[in-house]
Amino acid sequence: MTMKIPYFPGCTLHEKAKNFDQTARAAAKALGFELAELEGWTCCGAAFPLVDDNLMGLVPSVRILAKASQQGEELVTLCSFCYNVLKRVNKVIREDAEKRDKINMYLDEEFDEPYTGQVEVLHFLEVLRDKITFEELAQRVKRKLSHLKLGPYYGCLLLRPPKEIGLDDPDHPRILHDFLGSLGCQVRNFPFASECCGSYQAVRAPELALECSYRIIKSARQNDIDALVTSCPLCHFNLDAKQQAMAQKYGEFTPLPVFYFTQLLAVALDLEESVWGFDQHQVRPDELIKIPVGEEKQ
């Protein structure tokens, strides 16, 4: 029986980051489990509300978690933002009885049972690490990727705040490193692996966001990295789609492709090229994936 895990894609994964979603689903299938998309899901709210006095900001996430609790005990997500919001809201529900009761009262027309934090919020990487295991993953790799020198770019929300998210050490993270290592890639460290890309300032202060992202690309180049790997559509946008603007502003610029980690998984498992979704990239990584002349395909 195929393991089914309730899955929350989030708005961006059905649109700008379709390739992220597609490659994840296809890879899951190949690995023997199913991402069962939550029925009738709504936006998670994107940003975890940083104010203590307005509970409305928590409602969208609670609604999603409540829906998930009707379909299972876990909820897996891909987008760093969704993961961060859902995980943090889940913690509030588990620990703050007053807020929990108020929100459940508000939602009581939609749901029969109150939501009390029964669902465990997981990131897809956790599923790979803990349920499939990286050792097993290494066995399933069909395509040689050892020529790739990759820089895992964690961004902000996958790791911070460390005490609440608890996925990994924010200053010295390993999960993406280990994942890429299990795929047989060369993994490179670089000091900007968890420095902010500028995030949503791309809308209001685009020059500033550009500067932040440029520093990351520059550091990657200085550390002998061929491509960055990320788990966040906003990071991907700032790092990939903005490279033309970077070239214009900073000159002397060699483009650097940016992958979603699930794309590399799809490539490693040798899934059909149509799934990889490289057409959504600004800086196309196709050449990078092809094995250099002289090396055999495993």
Binding site: H172, P191, S219
Partner: protein, 649 residues
């Protein structure tokens, strides 16, 4: 029927303001058994005490109740006064009508007065049944054990030995000196640390009353003040130190290289080694884990080359048992573990070092012969960054406390670096400068003014390697700017923590330690060297972070406590302790597990429990637990308490 005298103190206005003392006196004078009652403004004063003494003689009092402040304040005073007048001191009881009455019932004078009368009456009932007791005496071994031979241990050893008593000085390393032996110079005088330390080390080794036991650890302790039995395990050195002439040939020929602990891995030592060139004792030990002969039966070159035939691969560990009268724990400190300093680049970047490592780098006897070079490539750093408060003052990521010495030793490092590299630039990231000692502030300011050391006020958020430099991201809150420095080398002033096995020692000795593992003093202000166990004292950084002058002072203080103990011929202790009615005791042994002071033991031959008087603190746990009413605390018996309660009905 005992003739009881009651003395009611005004305590100035502390008691008199709230309690109507005329009423109290009237009621107490009528109380059965009371032959004399008087009040006075300050009974603790000389004239006040004289009143009590005169009354004891004049009215032939058999017992005295002083109604005043808490016994914690003046019980000893009044007992002494009574004894001077010929009354047994344990016939003196204190009725606390201040802390437990006037001070807490200021608004209810009527009720407070009645309560005072009740308290005094109950105390009168108690004293009626008090026995004549005398302080317990136990024999005294006038030999001290000092655990740890760093500067604290050595100072205490010398102070005790020079007062005429014997000392066993225990050290777990092959040679003495502790961390001070690793320092290059000391602030604020910039004395060479070895130069001021070595004479002490030699003095300790040559003092006829000090028995130096190195390369040994404490195995167990039993007994009590004046009479401890300690077992010490002397690790096998595989070298006969009696025969060894310290010629050094074995060390030269040994083929095995191991990172030197003394030099924090910046240099190697051999498998047979002496801790440092000025080691006392200057005798080598073989590191059994790395020696080729001891692990694989290969090599054996040292044995072949030793002219004195001092190598002994068969040497076994030795267990030594000794009796001592007092113990001083001077185990010192460790630095915050490097594994947790990754945020500051330690471990990841070779050119990020700790303060102690910098001492070795700067030291003439260190890995670079005193040239300040950076570990990765030996380049002389031109831009050097010092970061203070690494792991200190950091409740979230480290220790919440201040490590006290880092501001000063960082200033020292900056000064020493500039002496050797006048063209270099020093940066210090700090939050505050704590330079409270004698000459300290002047030392810091001199460094800043003369060396143009840039003190940047702010913490550092990230350290990483980039293109051969160590990049430091910090901030200067004074100017409001985020700072980036491409440094050649970074030195971390990491937090001082207790030794990793300090808690283990504390448990062995049955002394308390705080939540950080530092040994706990009985009173933070007035009893800074006394542990919770009588006869065991501490000195140095094992108790809290401090600099060398304070360590030496504290060691002298601990030695003085030991000396004053040894100056008596026996140990006196309080007789208000538990006793066993042997007729009633059934040998169920419940009292033994109930006792937290290990003061109960089982006499298997007679099938009864016994009290180890020297250890008993009179807490009464055994009394509560005994199903046969065989346990009682002297002068605090169940009978007495019930009589007191009856009086309060």
């Amino acid at each position: 029927m005992k003739r009881i005298g009651v003395f009611v103190c005004w305590c100035g206005s502390n008691i008199a303001e709230v309690i109507k003392l005329d009423e109290v006196l009237e009621a107490i004078r009528k109380y059965p058994g009371v032959v004399f009652a008087e009040y006075y403004k300050y009974f603790c004063s000389e004239p006040g005490q004289q009143i009590i003494k005169d009354a004891i003689k004049e009215h032939q009092l058999d017992a005295v109740v002083v109604s005043a402040c808490s016994p914690a304040m003046h019980q000893a005073t009044f007992r002494k006064a009574a004894a001077a007048a010929g009354l047994n001191q344990y016939q003196v009881e204190i009725a606390n009508i201040r802390e437990q009455c006037s001070w807490v019932h200021r608004m209810h004078k009527e009720e407070a007065t009645q309560k005072a009368i009740d308290i005094i009456s109950a105390t009168i009932e108690k004293v009626k049944q008090n026995e004549q007791l005398a302080p317990l005496t136990s024999p005294l071994v006038k030999r001290a054990l000092i655990i740890g031979a760093g500067i604290a241990g050595m100072q205490a050893a010398l102070d005790i030995a020079n007062s005429g008593y014997e000392v066993l000085l225990l050290e777990r390393e092959p040679s003495i000196g502790g961390h001070m032996a690793q320092l290059s110079e000391t602030f604020p005088t910039l004395d060479c640390s070895q130069c001021i330390l070595t004479p002490r080390m030699v003095e300790v080794a040559q003092n006829p009353r000090i028995k130096l036991i190195t390369y040994s650890e404490l195995e167990s302790v039993s007994g009590s003040i004046g009479n401890f039995t300690v077992t010490i395990r002397r690790k096998p050195a595989y070298v006969d130190w009696q025969k060894c002439t310290a010629c050094g040939a074995c060390i030269e020929k040994c083929p095995v290289k191991v990172p030197s602990e003394f030099n924090f891995g910046l240099e190697n030592r051999k498998a047979i080694y002496v801790l440092s060139p000025q080691a006392v004792p200057n005798k080598p030990v073989i590191d059994a884990e790395h020696c080729m002969y001891l692990t694989k039966q290969k090599c054996g070159v040292c044995a072949k080359i030793c002219e004195a035939k001092a190598i002994d691969y068969e040497q076994k560990e030795k267990i030594i048992e000794e009796k001592v009268g007092a113990i001083i724990v001077a185990t010192g400190y460790d630095l915050f573990p490097g594994e947790e300093l990754d945020l500051y680049g330690y471990g990841r970047c070779k050119n990020v070092v700790t303060g102690l490592e910098f001492e070795r780098i700067n030291s003439a006897s260190g890995p670079y012969q005193g040239q300040i070079k950076r570990p990765s490539d030996g380049k002389v750093p031109k831009e050097i960054v010092f970061i203070q408060c690494v792991g200190s003052r950091d409740p979230e990521g480290g220790k919440p406390y201040c490590s006290r010495v880092c501001c000063m030793y960082t200033a020292k490092h900056a000064t020493l670096y500039k002496k050797k590299n006048p063209d270099g630039q020093v940066y210090v990231f700090y939050m505050d400068i704590r330079s409270a000692g004698k000459g300290y502030e002047e030392f810091v300011q001199k460094g800043i003014e003369e060396d143009r050391t840039l003190y940047l006020r702010g913490r550092v958020s990230k350290v990483f390697e980039d293109d051969g430099s160590v990049v430091v991201w910090g901030v200067d809150t004074l100017s409001g700017k985020k700072i980036e420095i491409k440094a050649d080398m970074v030195v971390l002033a990491s937090a001082m923590i207790p030794r990793h096995d300090a808690k283990k020692i504390a448990k062995l000795l049955n002394i308390g330690s705080d939540e950080h593992g530092f040994f706990k003093e009985t009173h933070p202000k007035l009893k800074p060297v006394e542990s919770s166990t009588a006869g065991i004292f501490f000195a140095g950084c094992g108790q809290s972070p401090k600099d060398i002058p304070d360590t030496v002072a504290q060691a002298g203080c601990a030695a003085a406590k030991v000396n004053s103990l040894f100056s008596m011929n026996k140990v006196l202790s309080d007789p208000i302790i538990a006793c066993v009615n042997e007729e009633l005791c059934q040998g169920c042994q419940l009292c033994i597990s109930a006792c937290t002071y290990n003061a109960r033991e089982f006499d298997a031959r007679r099938n009864i429990a016994k009290v180890i008087e020297a250890l008993c603190q009179g807490c009464g746990a055994c009394v509560a637990v005994c199903p046969n009413k065989a346990a009682e605390v002297k002068n605090m018996t169940t009978g007495q308490i019930l009589h007191m309660l009856d009086q309060l009905q």
